[in-house]
């Protein structure tokens, strides 16, 4: 028996069958149902594909962020990736919500509804896991940036000159990528000055990303993950770094108020390569160009946060004073209670005594009458006899 290809016949049969029963409305209904279902499936698969693409981007971002070398840091790429991933996540979010609305509107059978809601739930969980990974990556990245800066501080030198033009940056650097040991360069002034603007840079990048995150207005849980993580990262960095930054800015007498750029402009102190590395590193860390307005903005944010912090501390103090005064007053209330109880007891006893007295008085009256009667009798006797 030869193998005969009958696919075309099969197709023709199917078409004829469908055409025959095409006039019935029920089939139309089913078709529309199926159309809706296939539309749904198509949209869901699109979304799943996009989620996968986003996860791929996230992986590449992970690789970039996990690099521990001092110089291979590519902030532009990383930032672009971050932006791209954020946009994608937003878009996927919107699509999922659109799909959900669409699914609710079209009338489907119970099973189809259940199936579609399950699909949507799984898509949402995938998106949520993606965004939580994203958040972790961002945290790792900030941690890395801090470590890098620490390591650079260990080897960079403190003083700065008045020059405001940055030196041409060379990536060549004698420092190895080992655990840094406290070197003679790591004296208090770098801790004050160097760390200041660099820390200032980090909160600027975090703070800049924080409003970006906070501006995400989509309603799914992923956005709430974003805003909480980013704001927590920003808040965590700012109180640590602000005091340092302020002290540095007070000392620095550079032309521009941004001390960051001037770091790189130090000449002649120590080895040039050390200083260059400092400037290079700052350019990597600082996300925006430094000028008066940016510094003013950043400073005002820092100040606002500080004032909020102090207000909250004051409120805490007021509350503790409250509790103190209240506990004192509780004592007073107890004293009042005791006094009033005593009064009650006293008054009731006195009442009892008085009642006894009254009884005695009333009881005694009969005796009095008797005594008086006898006296009167004797008196009468004496008067009559005499």
């Amino acid at each position: 028996m030869t193998i005969k290809e009958r696919t075309n016949e099969f197709h023709a049969c199917c078409e004829s069958l469908s055409q025959r029963s095409n006039s019935s409305a029920k089939l139309l209904n089913q078709q529309s149902h199926q159309n809706a279902k296939t539309e749904f499936a198509k949209a869901a698969s699109l979304i799943a594909r996009e989620i996968n693409a986003t996860m791929a981007k996230l992986h590449s971002l992970t690789l970039l962020a996990k690099k521990k070398t001092l110089f291979d840091d590519r902030p532009n790429e990383i930032n672009e990736l971050v932006q791209g991933i954020k946009q994608d996540i937003n878009k996927v979010n919107r699509q999922i919500s659109l799909l959900q609305q669409h699914q609710r509107q079209t009338a489907l059978s119970m099973q189809l509804k259940e199936h579609s809601s399950n699909v949507i739930t799984s898509l949402q969980t995938k998106l949520a896991s993606t965004s939580s990974e994203f958040k972790n990556i961002l945290e790792i990245r900030t941690q890395n940036m801090k470590d890098q800066k620490n390591r650079r501080d260990q080897y960079s030198f403190a003083p700065m000159s008045g020059s405001s033009t940055p030196q041409p940056q060379k990536p060549g650097y004698p420092v190895q990528n080992v655990t840094p040991q406290p070197s003679p360069f790591a004296n208090p002034s770098p801790a004050n000055n160097n760390s200041g603007p660099l820390f200032g840079a980090i909160p600027s990048s975090n703070l800049a990303s924080a409003p970006l995150f906070a501006g995400d207005t989509s309603s799914s849980s992923s956005s709430s993950l974003f805003s909480t993580s980013a704001t927590s990262a920003a808040n965590y960095s700012s109180p640590l770094y602000n005091p340092d930054r302020k002290s540095h800015l007070a000392d620095n007498d550079s032309m521009q108020p941004d001390g960051l750029r001037n770091r790189g402009g130090v000449t002649g102190n120590g080895s040039d390569s050390v200083i260059d590395m400092g400037g290079f590193q700052q350019q990597q860390l600082v996300q925006g160009n430094n000028n008066a307005a940016t510094m003013e903005y950043i400073e005002s944010r820092g100040q606002a946060i500080e004032s909020i912090e102090s207000t909250i501390a004051e409120l805490g103090q007021i509350y503790s004073q409250f509790t103190q005064i209240l506990s004192q007053q509780r004592e007073m209330v107890q004293r009042i209670d005791v006094n009033v109880m005593d009064t009650e007891v006293n008054v009731s006893n006195a009442h009892g005594e008085l009642a006894k007295y009254l009884e005695r008085l009333q009881g005694n009256r009969w005796l009095m009458i008797q005594v008086f009667g006898i006296l009167v009798v004797f008196f009468m006797l004496f008067v009559v006899i005499s």
């Binding site: 970006l212 307005a293 004293r335 006293n346």
Partner: protein, 200 residues
């Protein structure tokens, strides 16, 4: 009363072309509005061109209004024109927020097709936000938190005062109850003594 005159998004890579703009010119004379709008557009364009990417700038003009402009590293620029009273930090926060929304709503490919005239149809939320941001407290969460905290502090101070009053009242009550109890004790003693004498 701090006021926002306009919010706009422009593309610095494209010679400062405005992508979306919303104005609130109700404070101006009806006949002045046209020219003011034109001037604002020009101002926005120039400000965007003069600012390099990644930089924020604050441009004050004739003591009447201030333009806050922030150009992001990818060329997208956000400008907000306010009067002199509007706090700078809030203005930049708004700019950041608007840029974020804009870039999430319109990917880079769509930028060429946008122009300020069609803002009302393509990006109507901008108008709603312009209205919302007239009050700086609504825009900046930091300001809002600060204001709430201040109000809470005022309430707490009042409560503290009333608590101290309560303390005084309680003190008074303690003394009076003390007096009462001693007087009742005297009363009891007197009653007892009246009862004590048995002889008539």
């Amino acid at each position: 009363m701090p006021k926002v005159f306009s919010i706009a998004v422009a593309n610095r890579n494209d010679a400062g072309r405005i992508l979306a703009a919303e104005h609130d010119l109700t404070s101006f004379n009806y006949f002045q509005r046209g020219s003011v709008q034109e001037f604002l557009g020009f101002f926005i364009k120039t400000a965007t061109e003069r600012t390099s990417p990644g930089m924020r700038q604050k441009i004050e003009e004739q003591n009447m209004y201030v333009g806050h402009v922030y150009v992001r590293s990818d060329g997208l620029a956000g400008i907000i024109v306010t009067d002199m009273e509007y706090p700078t930090r809030t203005a930049f926060t708004i700019v950041n927020k608007i840029l974020e929304e804009f870039s999430s709503k319109f990917p880079t490919s769509q930028w060429a097709g946008l122009n300020p005239g069609s803002t009302a149809s393509t990006y109507p939320e901008l108008k709603a936000q312009l209205v919302k941001f007239q009050d700086p407290h609504a825009a900046d969460p930091l300001l809002r938190v600060q204001r709430d905290l201040d109000e809470t502090k005022i309430v707490l101070h009042k409560t503290m005062e009333s608590l101290l009053n309560r303390g005084e009242v309680l003190d008074d009550l303690v003394q009076r109850s003390d007096q009462l109890s001693s007087q009742s004790k005297m009363f009891y003693k007197t009653a007892k003594s009246t009862n004590s004498c048995c002889t008539y």
